[in-house]
């Protein structure tokens, strides 16, 4: 419903620069995840979009209009706070209906919408409780319900699912996604959890230290990160130094063939990423296979569905994830295949 743009937004707190320079262009009805380590400025970004804080520099546009003069209460945004910010002196019911009551919505409509949302967030049995009498997850659901009931045109959520158990979390994710699509609400949500960001969002904005590192689809962020920092944050563990040669990559432990050097000419210093789940692990060598290396398992960690191996190849250690149907012991000799189309190159940032 509303397109949100941040143009060269900068935020300083005294002499501390919380956001350096953010350009973000969020399409109407899009669901964007703000992903980044603690303290990188995620909450600060949301606070400026909502109008609780003003940027030191730059502008924020809703549908192309500068909103710096639009007071918070007229922006028609919704925000689920990181620490809920429930009204401690109001019952669950009163908390949820607050946004409707202050807008003088007729009582009949208020109670209708209340019943609907209570049912969705499964809090009907708790409607007369006070926040102090709720668990963390229940409080979080009250916070979400209180925001959603007002049907905001831009919805912001600051780690809305952090305190929920796995089942409820999945359910709330689907619920948020469905609601977001049904009402076409432009949604920005903050998360620490990459998996959640991947699953839920149309695009992911990765923020480091007050800078926007990459803004791309989940697939792009995961498979084609712009920088090694983004790749590492997204859990990439095999980042290898190398030099681009003729149709190949020369690394400390092997010459690998790569699809095509892309933008990198022969002789460029690069870093290469191979995702641990993209590497195939075999007990016997395969004849004529590309990029096949022999190595020895150093450690094996069991994660339920997968096993995570550290495999020594020459002086180098590679991480490999495999299905846990068969678990190999440390010191087992193995063969690794690195599919050439799964090797992603970055420019060497030190250079």
């Amino acid at each position: 419903m509303t397109q949100v743009q941040l143009n060269a937004v900068r935020k300083e707190f005294g002499s501390f620069v919380a956001l350096e320079h953010i350009d973000l262009d969020i399409q109407s009805g899009e669901l964007v995840a703000l992903l980044g380590p603690s303290g990188c400025g995620k909450t600060t970004t949301l606070r400026m979009i909502s109008g609780l804080d003003n940027p030191t520099n730059g502008e924020i546009l809703f549908d192309g209009n500068d909103v710096s003069d639009v007071p918070v209460r007229d922006r028609n945004v919704g925000m689920v706070f990181q620490r809920y910010a429930l009204f401690p002196h109001m019952s669950v019911e009163k908390n949820i209906t607050f946004g409707l009551r202050v807008r003088d919505i007729p009582a009949s409509e208020v109670s209708e919408r209340l019943e609907e949302i209570l049912d969705i967030v499964q809090l009907t049995a708790f409607r007369d409780r006070f926040p102090a009498q709720l668990s963390g997850g229940q409080m979080q659901r009250v916070a979400i319900a209180r925001t959603l009931i007002t049907k905001p045109s831009v919805l912001m959520m600051d780690e809305p699912l952090a305190n929920l158990d796995t089942n409820l979390r999945g359910e709330m994710r689907r619920f948020i996604r469905e609601l977001q699509q049904r009402f076409n609400i432009t949604t920005i949500f903050v998360t620490h959890d990459q998996v959640e960001a991947m699953e839920l969002s149309d695009r992911v904005a990765v923020l480091f230290d007050g800078r926007l590192e990459q803004f791309d689809t989940p697939d792009g962020i995961y498979h084609r990160p712009d920088k090694t920092s983004v790749a590492k944050f997204m859990g990439a563990s095999n980042i290898i130094d190398g030099v681009v040669g003729d149709g190949g990559l020369k690394t400390a432990f092997a010459d690998l063939s790569i699809g095509d050097g892309g933008a990198f000419g022969a002789g460029s210093q690069v870093k290469a990423m191979v995702r641990s789940e993209a590497i195939r692990l075999l007990k016997e060598p395969e004849a004529g296979a590309q990029n096949q290396l022999s190595g020895t398992i150093r450690t094996a960690d069991f994660f339920g569905a997968t096993v995570s191996y550290v495999v020594q190849v020459g002086d180098y250690e590679l991480n490999v994830d495999e299905h846990s149907t068969e678990m190999l012991e440390p010191d087992t000799p193995v063969y690794l295949q690195l599919p050439s189309d799964r090797i992603w190159l970055f420019p060497d940032e030190k250079g």
Binding site: R73, A85, F130, A132
Partner: protein
């Protein structure tokens, strides 16, 4: 074995608790409680040290409560106490809300507003006389700028039964105290619930009355309770700045105690006990109402 170990530990904890509580208990029950019992006994005619012992004798209360002057005095006492508490409260809330916002030289203001706390009441009373009295600074100033012809025309502010002087002193002294309490509560609740309310579409008035005020209620209740109790029992301000007969009850009591006739001591005690009963009933009712409100809101 473990059971006996536990009881030993429990006994130790109990002893520690008794030791911790004993100073308070001694002050409260022995000194204060003992004095209270004596005061009640005396007001009922038990004062052998003055050669009076007609216990139980309700004539002192009868004489007191039977005179219409007593009821006027009671009204004045409660009126000064109530009005100054309300005015101070409103000012303290406004001041606390201002202090919570970031602004330049806030540190200075946070220091300045507390100044009256460190100045004794008597000094405050003297300042009020200097400022607001006829012939005081205000009257001369107004005469000087020509708003009145001479300082003598300055309206009588002090020594009237409206008690503006008394109220001024109480407010001046108690705004900082209440602000201290309310500001601390405001700091504790933080800004987030107010911000959430703003995002949900509430205007400033709605935010104040339905989000901020209910949350600072504990600070309001405790500080108004203390100030009201003080105002009802205080003596110097109404004595110096009040309108004379009929005086507030503490002044009435003082006049009885100061009388050469010992018999009036008992009448004075009856007055003091009356003050105690009235303020006790009011404060208890206030506290009970607040407790009820808190319980309704799910707090124990």
């Amino acid at each position: 074995m473990s059971a006996s170990v536990r009881t030993a530990a429990q006994r130790k904890a109990r002893l520690l608790l008794i030791a911790e509580l004993s100073p308070v208990v001694i002050v409260l029950f022995v000194l204060f409680g003992g004095a209270l019992v004596l005061a009640v006994l005396q007001s009922l005619g038990f004062a052998p040290w003055f050669g009076v012992n007609t216990f139980p004798d309700f004539s002192y209360f009868g004489a007191l409560w039977g005179s219409s002057a007593f009821w006027v005095s009671l009204w004045l006492t409660l009126y000064y106490g109530f009005v100054s508490t309300i005015i101070a409260l409103i000012m303290a809330i406004i001041l606390s809300l201002a202090l919570i916002k970031p602004f330049r030289s806030k540190t200075l203001y946070k220091y300045l507003y507390k100044l009256p706390l460190m100045i004794p009441y008597t000094v405050g009373i003297a300042l009020v006389v200097l400022m607001l009295g006829n012939g005081g600074i205000m009257s001369r100033l107004l005469a000087f700028v020509g708003m009145i012809d001479n300082p003598g025309q300055f309206p009588q502010i002090l020594k009237t039964h409206y008690g503006w002087g008394i109220i001024t002193v109480y407010v001046w002294k108690q705004v900082p105290f209440m602000t201290l309490a309310i500001y601390a509560v405001l700091l504790g609740i933080g800004r987030e619930t107010e911000e959430a309310a703003a995002i949900l579409g509430a205007n400033r008035r709605q935010i104040f009355f339905s989000v901020t005020l209910p949350q600072i209620l504990p600070g309001i209740v405790s500080s108004t309770l203390i100030c009201f109790a003080f105002n009802v029992g205080a003596f110097e301000a109404p004595f110096i700045l009040g309108g004379g007969y009929p005086d507030t009850l503490p002044v009435v009591a003082w006049r009885y105690f100061n009388d050469a006739n010992y018999a009036f001591q008992l009448q004075g005690m009856a007055t003091v006990v009356s003050i105690g009963i009235v303020s006790g009933v009011i404060l208890f009712g206030y506290l009970a109402a607040y407790r009820r409100y808190e319980r309704m809101r799910g707090r124990a």
